[in-house]
Structure formats: structure tokens, C-alpha cells
Amino acid sequence: MGNLVSISSNLLYASFFFYMIATFFFGGTIRDKKNSGRGKASTIGISLTIAGFITQLGYFFTRWAASKHAPVSNLFEFTTFFGMMLVMAFIIIYFIYRLDVIGLFALPVALLIIAYASMFPREISPLVPSLKSHWLYIHVTTAAIGEAILAISFVAGLIFLIRQIDQTKKSKHTFWLEFVIYSIFSTLGFIIVTTTFGAMDYQAQFQAPIEGQITAVEYHLPAIAGPNAGELQTAGAMQPLFDAPEWMRGESAARKFNTLIWSLLSGLVLYGAARLILRKRVAAVIQPKLKKFNPDLIDEVSYRAVSIGFPIFTLGALIFAMIWAQEAWNRFWGWDPKEVWALITWLFYAFFLHLRLSRGWHGTKSAWLAVGGFAIIMFNLIAVNLIIAGLHSYA
């Protein structure tokens, strides 16, 4: 039993390295003269990606065998699965369009997502009664596949924007594009900071009043923002620079707020360092390497991903979700934040499709919408679980 669990996590590590090496090979294709690759680097890149995907499937099914339920029931498992589906979506798109550059951007996104997932508790968790349904697997997996395909549209949109936006002068476009890149750096920052302090086994205990009761609050990162009116208990731990605002009341709200500050600051450091070294906007540095790719084709990939992903997302995140909710809570729709954000995602992509099909929004506008859609998906994955629910202290 314990054996199966460790095999499973080793397979996950292995797939992580496969994806990482594959990324380098896709990076190598950038220098190829031909723009759609049947070159050697491309072949090795896609083979490694597929090997990584199969390894990760191994992780998935061994974990399933160990826990006796499909491993999509907590934040770590779901996010990892989402990363895996992102890779699958990339593989599908690769065999339609043979564009190496998609891999060069999609795999790092998948790597970040999987690494991000690993920052959350990884032990196998029991299922509360309402989760004990086959609809759980069906709903969650379909929704994740849909979102992953939609994420490919973001990847293509991002490539399009880096390729197309005029970098010779400062504009709203260059600002927001740098902002997207900064957000990616912040995710990386979060992973680095969490891993570092996790390895040091950093702990700081606070006593803080929560709902009128003095409660122990534990931090695993040095407290920049401590709990409101909290007292540090651990000797030698850093004193908070300031207290979290009073309205953050949940038991873990202040801790999550602190983590957010750490992520944003470390992202700033990473991004600042990149700017200092490159002496240019990050996108401006990448732009020349993408010049050989046909922007029309990239635009089409972005749209195609939405047109494939949207129906799957509808099916998984709305229709199957309703069927399951009907079974479990006897109401197919309850306006719970997670549901509402799934609806918002759906409305957003409906909006995207109407603008594209009826009002002819192509190219840059369409690419920005693809980026916006991904931001909403990430918001639903991260913020709705951690922030909205956290403030209400459900999580």
C-alpha cells in the first residue's frame, strides 16, 4: 500500500523531468529554419512529452489504486490532473498543427501548474459522503480537460501577443503583456519561496483572536503580514511587519494573505532581475525569436482550442456538474461561488465566440480575450478556493 503511494509520487517526479527536458528540445527548434517542425529536435521533444504524459498517467492510476478513488478530490490532485490534461491538449494540438512553439510555451505552463499543485498537502484524503459518486470523476475530469484545452488557447494567444505587439513604443499592450509575464514570475516565486521555507521547516506560531476566541495560527513562511491582533509565540521567528486587515477573519485568511504578499514580492524580485539583466521588456527579448511563425496560424490555433474546449467545458463544468449536484445536494444549481465562477467562465467564452464569429474580432483582440479567459479559469482554480472561500473560512 505505502509502496504504491511512493511509486505513484516517483512517477509524478519522473514526468516532471520529462516535461522539463522536452521543453529544452522544443526550445532548440526555435533555431531551425523551417517553421513547422519535423526536425530532429521536434521529434525528440514530442516523444519526451508523450513519455512524460504516459508516466504521469502511471502516477494517476497507481494513486487511484492506492486511494481507491480517482485522484481528483483535493486541490493537489485536481491541479496536477489539470496540468496533465494541459499536456494532453498540447499533444493533440501538436498533431493537428505541428507547431513546436506551442510546446515551448505550453510545457512550462504545465510544469508551473504541476509544481504549484505540489505546494498543497499531498497525502491521500478521505472522501466526504457527498463526493462519493461516479459523477465526481466524470464531472471533474471532463471539466479539467475542457479547461486544459482552453488553456492552450491562452498559450497560443500569449505567443501571438509576444509576436505581434509593437515593442518599439510603450503602450497599454506592452504594459499588460509584461503584467501577464510578471504573473507567471509570481507563480514561480510562490513555488520557490514555499519550497525553500518548506525545506527549512520554517514555523511561526501566533495566538490571535478568531471569532472571539484566541486561536493558534501557524505560519510556514515568515510573517510579513501577521494575523490581526496576533501575538508571535515562536522564539526566533520574524516579527510581522504589519497586521493583516481586520476584515480578514477566517482562521487561515491572514496566512493566505501573507503567502500572497510573498508571491507578489518574489515575483517582483524575479521580474526585476530579468529586466535588469535583459535591459528590455521581457516580451521584447522573446519577440525576435518568434518572428518566423505565421501569426495567422497561431491565431487560428488559439481560436481552434476555444472551439474544441468550449463544448467540453460546458459538458464537464456545467452539465455534469448539475447532474452531480442534483444527485448529491438535490439541487442542480446553488449559486455557490465555485458554480458561479464556472458560469462566469462559460459566459466569458460565449462572449469570446460571439465577438469572434459575429463581430470579427481576430488577431490581437482575440488573443487578449484568450488571455482573459485563462485568467478567469485560474481565478476559479486558485482564488475561489483559497481567497473567497478562505475569507469565509470554509477552506
Partner: protein, 541 residues
């Protein structure tokens, strides 16, 4: 109505932009689709005559035009989207802790922002009139938008001819001229091989596939409309019932909203938790959690139907119709109703036993009695001749400014004011007794009531549902899915070939996925002598 006759002989309805048969741009109507001279043609609705683009005279036209605008539809979507997100800032009223008063809860919890949130009615945002109005407007927009386009589009695609006006071909996005000999027969064969339908009219060729994908958007809109209508039907009580019943263990209760026709008995309520010692796989996770994690909520229920429903006032005669272990995700279903495991109350007190003895000597017992907490008798005769009378009963006792009161009628914390009449018949003594307390208000009582024991039982909370709107929702959802898949996973592609004096022209159009269309064309002109056509709308990089 002013019909427009094209030079090809086809008669088009008023407002047509491109002749339905030959595609020749109709002079004077080009502004409708924003076609500029010599630029590519806007092919979105085949240049067909849409009502919304043709008439704008009276109020009906204006309303029609408003709702058929995609711009308006998109704005409706955006407003609904933003409004929905506002409702997630703070929890909705149904998710705040039960029993709390929303008027104070939001302000207490979230300060001024919470107060404003409450005052704007955002705590019940999704059932506000304006939010429902938004949904209704989207519904209206869906209907009008679809009818406005689908009718003329269908007409245009039906009337189209292989023989096209030369400007039509020239102003397609994919267009190419070939000078010299072309093997048209091979071209046709190769198109057929790629599952194109091929028509030939005096050497003019039209190859088409996937036309049905053009209907996808309209099919999915129909699905959405059915879905929304289903949601509307929920306001009819005959279509939708949402009720709730508490049933104590051992008790039989009438199922509400069934006109007394059905009864449910709770034989046993079971709550099981995960055991970290037994479930090795979850050990680590369970150890990290302070609270136990439930693994099962279950009611062993028996459903009865009343057989003498017509006899008013008679004792109900019940006939068992179903025995069912109701667990989460597995409701009991009968006659359109469903009972869902939805809540529970553990260890509610069912009976309390008291001993009456002398205050100073616990062994001098005057007798024992048991109070049934759900239906207490008011007077108890003890063996010794003493009498105990219940003066007041507080099922869920608490002190409210020095006054004992009951929070509810459920015996969660029962307490009593007793009158104790001594065996010799003197004046009664007052005694106040409950769980873990026994108060003698005068401090002069000769007799004392002590709690001798109590029984508890669990209560299960079952949601009672009847929902005849589900089939509408299901059908609506299914049609929507068929529509999106039809519209998104297939493409409507057409390729035209026109014989010219010195060769051939070919042109291609698709509603999306131009990459796929170009690949189709490349395959079909292979070794036919036809040159690869050009994409006249490449983005310049």
C-alpha cells in the same frame, strides 16, 4: 415589399446584399455588411437579407433590431457576468450560518462593505428581479437573434448555384487564377474523395461539405431557450416542490407537500466517521485534521402510502411501499417525489427519568418517573403517593435576561419547572430541573428531584423534492450540447471553380478553420494543373 432581380435572373428579397443564387453584390446594399469596393466580401450571413438590417420604421422594427443585435447580446452577457461575480464577494444569504439575521450578519462580519452589500440586496442577488430580468432579456435576445438570421441564411444556402458571378469569386478570401490547362475531372474526383458534395453547372463547380454546421449556433440557442423555459417552470408548484422534514428515530412522519398521502419512518440514523486505524490509506490526512471526517450519513427509512385518504379525520391506514437506505447521493424515489439525506441531529433527548427523594437523604426515595420529551404527560403519580406536576417545559432551555426560555421546540436541552406535591398532601414545592442542574428557588425544599437517566435518539433531516422541470433542463442541455458540437467540431467549407477563357479560377470559403480549408484545396488540386490559391487576408507580421 421591394424584390430585387439580379442579372442572373434570381429574384431576391428586399435588403439582400449578395445575390442568393450567384453572389453578385447588389448595388446600394453593400453598406449593410460593410463591404467596401474591391475589398473581400463579408460572408458572415451569406449577404442574405436580415429583417433587422432591412426595416427600421416602426416600434416593432426598433425592438426587433435592438434584440437581434449581437452587440446588445454581448453586453447582456457582460452585465450578467459582472453581476454574477458581485454575488460571490460575500456569501449569499443561504450560505450564512443558519439562524443568523442577515440584517446584522453582513455588517458584523464585513463592516461597512457588508452593510452596503446587504442594502443593495446582493445577499440574495441571484433571485433579485433585476438579475432575473437580465436572464430573461438574454432569452429574448437569443430567440430574436436566431430567427433574424437563421431564416434568410437557410434561404440563401438553399438557393445558391454553382455558377457564380466573377466578382463573388474574386472577392473571396481564398482565391487563385490559373492560366492554362486544368484537369477539372481529377479535381472533382479528389474533392469527392474528401467527402465534398460536388455540383457541376456548365463547367462551373461548387464543392461543399459540412453545411449542417452552420445550423449549430441556432440549435444550441434552441437548447438554451428550452433550458431557460424549464427554469421558469420552477415557479409553478405543480412542477416543482422543495420541502423538508425532520424525522426522529422510531417515528413516522407525514411527508410534507404530499397532501398527507405519504409517510416516512426513520428506523435508524447512522453517522460513520473515517477511522485512521482501519483506513491506513487516509491515516496521514486524518491525523492532520483535528476533527473527525464523516464517511457516511444514512437513514434507514420505510416509506408508506396512506390507503384511506378519502376518509377525513380517520386514523391513517398505512401501507408499506418501500424500504430504503437513504444515503447522500442515493435518494429514495416514489411517485415523482424524492427524499434526500440532507441534515441530521445527533443524540436528541427522547426521555428523561427523575427520582424523587428527601433533600437530605438520597436513599429515602419516594418514587421514580419518566418524562417522554416529545409528548410529555403533565402529571405523575408516584408509588409513595407523592405527585409531580409539570408547570413549564423548555425543550431547548436557555436564560434570557434571567428568564428561562426555550430556543426551539426540539428537546436539545430540556428543562422543567416541577410542582412536587408531598405524599401527605401539603402545599407543593417548586423545583427547577434540567441537564446538569437542579435549582431550588426557595432553598427550603424538603424533597429533591434528581436526574436518574435519559434516553437519546438521532433525528434525520430529509429534503423532499419533486421536480418535473428536470426533463426540460435535460433536453435543453442535450440540444445545446448537440448544437455546440455541431457548430464547433464541423466546418462549412465551399470551393468554387469557374472556367475562364484562358484557364480556371478557384475560390474557397469556410466559416472557420481556414488552415483546414487550405489543406483540403491543396490536396484536391494536386496534379490537376491548378495553382495553389492565395489567402488574400494574411496578417502581415
Amino acid at each position: 415589399m421591394k424584390k430585387i432581380k439580379c442579372e442572373c435572373g434570381h429574384v431576391n428579397p428586399e435588403g439582400t446584399v449578395l445575390c442568393e443564387a450567384c453572389g453578385k453584390p447588389i448595388e446600394g446594399n453593400q453598406h449593410i455588411d460593410g463591404n467596401k469596393k474591391d475589398s473581400l466580401l463579408n460572408m458572415r450571413y451569406e449577404g442574405s437579407a436580415r429583417r433587422s438590417q432591412t426595416y427600421n420604421r416602426n416600434i416593432v422594427d426598433k425592438v426587433w433590431n435592438f434584440f437581434s443585435s449581437v452587440k446588445v447580446g454581448v453586453w447582456l452577457i457582460i452585465i450578467t457576468l459582472v453581476a454574477s461575480s458581485l454575488g460571490t464577494i460575500f456569501p449569499q444569504e443561504m450560505y450564512i450560518p443558519p439562524g443568523s439575521d442577515p440584517a446584522t450578519f453582513y455588517e458584523d462580519q464585513y463592516g461597512l462593505a457588508g452593510k452596503i452589500y446587504y442594502q443593495l440586496g446582493f445577499h440574495n442577488l441571484y433571485s433579485t428581479v433585476w438579475f432575473m430580468l437580465m436572464i430573461a432579456l438574454i432569452g429574448v435576445s437569443l430567440v430574436i437573434c436566431s430567427i433574424d438570421r437563421v431564416v434568410p441564411l437557410h434561404r440563401a444556402l438553399k438557393k445558391q448555384k454553382p455558377k457564380r458571378h466573377h466578382t463573388f469569386l474574386k472577392r473571396q478570401r481564398v482565391f487563385g487564377e490559373t492560366n492554362g490547362q486544368a484537369d477539372v475531372e481529377a479535381f472533382k474526383t479528389k474533392l469527392r474523395k474528401q467527402r465534398y458534395k460536388v455540383w457541376d453547372e456548365d463547367g462551373h463547380i461548387l464543392a461543399e461539405k459540412g453545411r449542417f454546421s452552420r445550423w449549430g449556433p441556432y440549435v444550441n440557442h434552441i437548447g438554451l431557450i428550452i433550458f431557460l423555459l424549464g427554469a421558469l417552470l420552477r415557479f409553478l408548484p405543480s412542477m416543482y416542490i422543495d420541502d423538508f422534514v425532520w424525522v426522529r428515530e422510531g417515528e413516522t412522519a407525514v411527508v410534507p407537500s404530499t397532501d398527507g398521502q405519504y409517510y416516512v419512518k426513520n428506523e435508524d440514523f447512522i453517522l460513520e466517521n473515517y477511522d485512521p486505524d482501519k483506513d491506513e490509506r487516509f491515516q496521514e490526512a486524518l491525523m492532520n485534521q483535528n476533527a473527525p471526517v464523516a464517511s457516511n450519513y444514512q437513514t434507514n427509512a420505510v416509506i408508506y402510502e396512506r390507503t384511506n385518504n378519502d376518509v377525513v379525520g380517520a386514523e391513517p391506514e398505512l401501507e408499506e411501499i418501500q424500504k430504503k437506505e437513504i444515503v447522500v447521493n442515493k435518494p429514495a424515489k416514489f411517485d415523482g417525489f424524492a427524499l434526500y439525506q440532507s441534515s441530521y441531529q445527533l443524540d436528541e433527548f427522547s426521555a428523561m427519568s427523575f427520582t424523587l427523594h428527601e433533600t437530605d437523604d438520597e436513599s429515602a426515595v419516594l418514587g421514580e418517573f419518566t418524562v417522554d420529551l416529545t409528548d410529555p404527560e403533565m402529571e405523575y403519580e408516584l408509588d409513595s403517593g407523592a405527585r409531580v406536576v409539570i408547570d413549564e417545559y423548555f425543550p431547548e432551555y436557555y436564560m434570557d435576561e434571567n428568564q428561562p426560555r426555550s430556543k426551539s421546540k426540539f428537546p436539545k436541552n430540556p428543562a422543567f419547572v416541577f410542582y412536587v406535591y408531598p405524599p401527605d398532601g401539603g402545599d407543593p414545592e417548586v423545583s427547577f430541573a434540567g441537564i446538569g442542574m437542579n435549582i431550588d428557588p426557595t432553598n427550603e425544599n424538603q424533597y429533591k428531584l434528581s436526574l436518574a437517566g435519559y434516553d437519546t435518539r438521532d433525528v434525520t433531516g430529509l429534503a423532499v423534492k419533486k421536480d418535473y422541470t428536470l426533463p426540460f433542463m435535460a433536453v435543453g442541455g442535450l440540444i445545446f450540447m448537440i448544437g455546440v458540437v455541431q457548430g464547433m467540431y464541423w466546418n462549412h467549407r465551399r470551393i468554387w471553380l469557374q472556367p475562364r477563357e484562358d484557364g480556371v479560377w478557384i475560390a474557397g470559403h469556410t466559416n472557420k478553420n481556414w488552415y483546414g480549408l487550405k489543406k483540403d484545396i491543396e490536396k484536391s488540386i494536386d496534379q490537376t494543373g491548378i495553382d495553389i490559391p492565395e489567402d488574400q487576408q494574411q496578417l502581415k507580421g
